[in-house]
Symmetry: C2
Subunit: 340 residues, 2 copies
């Protein structure tokens, strides 16, 4: 545990082999200008001396660090962790490291995260904005540094930036149509923050479906900022207690849908016969809960992979801007499927 042990450098290899550092550097890179034997010798010595390249030094010299910063609201959400899995896989196969930072949905943390990425000298930034974020100086600062930025899921609304997200409008539209097709007429919608495009789009999709099917607006309640299990529970309880029980609860989150279902079950209300409930995200629990939850599969891993691919192309010098919509999939389960 020799903690003041100096690391092996190419200089060490050069000295033991009586070569110059440049020869060693080139040999290590497999440069054809170096003879086969020398290259072989150098690589062998590198191995036996426990050499590993000092990335930061190489980065300093070449201006390329091979590190990509990834900023997400939370890492312990099925959606984001799968998405990161996709990012990581694509970046790795392109010899890029993944630097992760989670904001915990805090704007301040997000600012710090971007600064940390700037300091770390990452070659590009992939980010999904926090719920709180409404100002973008920190992002613009990064962009000014001349390095690529790719948004995913929660994007900045600027068409000159790359963004990969799902088709929220359509997903919500289809979901609402499905609920209406099951005979529901008095709907409650549990939405998110209106300043995030994705939640606005979901709400718009919901409303458009109602419009297209001639549902009376007076029969509909829309709640903002209602994405948590607790919110779902509380709102549902309040509706029941005030005699306003709807016949469908369409939620922009599996968690609030879960809260609603728990509350309805407690109140002895039958799902789906009396009330249909739908969620959003296809969290692991949605399949195995009782009743199983109708929801939207977002293909998180693919979103991550697609975003990473755009980043890789940008890093390689193709500075194209892309906005990609990953198609969603309606997963119909018991919580919304009536038998008539």
């Amino acid at each position: 545990m020799n903690s003041d042990r100096r690391r092996t450098t190419i200089k060490d290899i050069a000295e033991t082999l009586h070569l110059s550092v440049s020869t060693v550097s080139r040999a290590l890179q497999g440069n054809p200008r170096i003879s086969k034997e020398t290259t072989e010798k150098v690589k062998k010595m590198a191995l036996s001396l426990d050499y590993s390249i000092h990335g930061p030094a190489a980065a300093l010299r070449t201006g390329q660090g091979n590190n990509i910063g990834v900023i997400v609201p939370r890492i312990n959400r099925q959606f984001f962790s799968s998405l990161i899995g996709g990012i990581e896989q694509v970046l790795r196969t392109n010899a890029l490291n993944t630097f992760i930072y989670q904001t915990q949905e805090s704007f301040e943390n997000e600012q710090q995260g971007v600064q940390a990425m700037l300091n770390a000298g990452v070659d590009g930034l992939m980010i999904s904005l926090s719920i709180e974020t409404q100002a973008f100086d920190h992002i613009e600062r990064f962009i000014r540094s001349g390095r690529p930025v790719v948004f995913f899921d929660r994007c900045m609304e600027d068409s000159s930036l790359s963004c990969v997200m799902i088709d929220d409008f359509n997903a919500a539209y289809q979901m609402t149509e499905h609920v209406l097709a099951n005979g529901c007429k008095k709907l409650v919608y549990l939405g998110g923050s209106e300043h995030l495009m994705m939640y606005r789009n979901r709400r718009k999709g919901f409303e458009q479906a109602l419009l297209d099917h001639h549902i009376q607006p007076s029969d509909v309640h829309i709640y903002e900022n209602s994405l948590t299990r607790e919110k779902g529970y509380d709102i549902t309880r309040q509706l029941i207690e005030t005699g306003q029980t709807p016949d469908a609860i369409v939620s922009a989150s599996d968690f609030s849908a879960l809260g609603s279902i728990l509350c309805l079950k407690e109140a002895g209300i039958n799902i789906p016969e009396q009330v249909c409930v739908t969620g959003f995200a296809n969290e692991l629990f949605s399949e195995v809960m009782d009743p199983s939850l109708t929801t939207v599969e977002q293909h998180a891993r693919e979103i991550g992979m697609k975003a990473a691919e755009i980043m890789v192309r940008n890093i390689k010098g193709f500075s194209e801007i892309e906005t990609v919509l990953i198609p969603t999939e309606l997963i119909i389960r018991k919580s919304s499927l009536r038998h008539r």
Copy 2:
């Protein structure tokens, strides 16, 4: 999107202010040797020039990169993502960045990951071994570089290394006692890979409880490598078909427990009255599935935080070795609680 834009350096600041780079460097660090006015001036200019420190260069000079590598089998497991959340939080409050790498349970990826960390010049390594890992040259290589290594959850069995894990033996022991207290006598155990200490310890805890309660070994079946939903389902189906249905299935994983439950429900077998089922990990779905699953809460976040604290202390020069057992919590739910 000026991609050949040179980044602002302290030299730029120095020139515009007619100061030397050393003064600027010191001012930026808040060195008291620099006058208040100069410090102020420099910081203001840094801001207006969009300056941010170039970490790699500073790392090269100081030998301290403030980056910690974290290697995990998978990121999209509730357990690991929560754990990483804990790590990230502690490291960040100590001005350390988190470098993440997932092995997908592959030994080859793990080797590459350690190498990537070595190259990235991280100051320390936090790692949970892949299931496949049985050789440790890559780890020893990192240790030889003189930088601290902290294991979590899946550790190398070497008392000269720091490790944070849960008390698997006791957790399994308590779980087994709970099942026995519910009157079960013919038990099936679904375990993991025997070469991982944690799974060995769980199996030992299970067996010790049987021993202490005088259960006939002939009434017990132990399966190795049975941690997935599919394995749980298949083994359970096979037991039922061959007329060997047990009265309890104790699993080392929530996923195989889930598989078992799905199979039992399909076969019309009552849980828990005919068969008790227990899992391990308290995955999100275990609470909301039907029946809710008795399991073990591992306090993943705390494991991460504790491991990160040890790392931070090592980075700061205290090279103490610590093995920490985080206490678990038995979460008793419907899948194992008989009413008599």
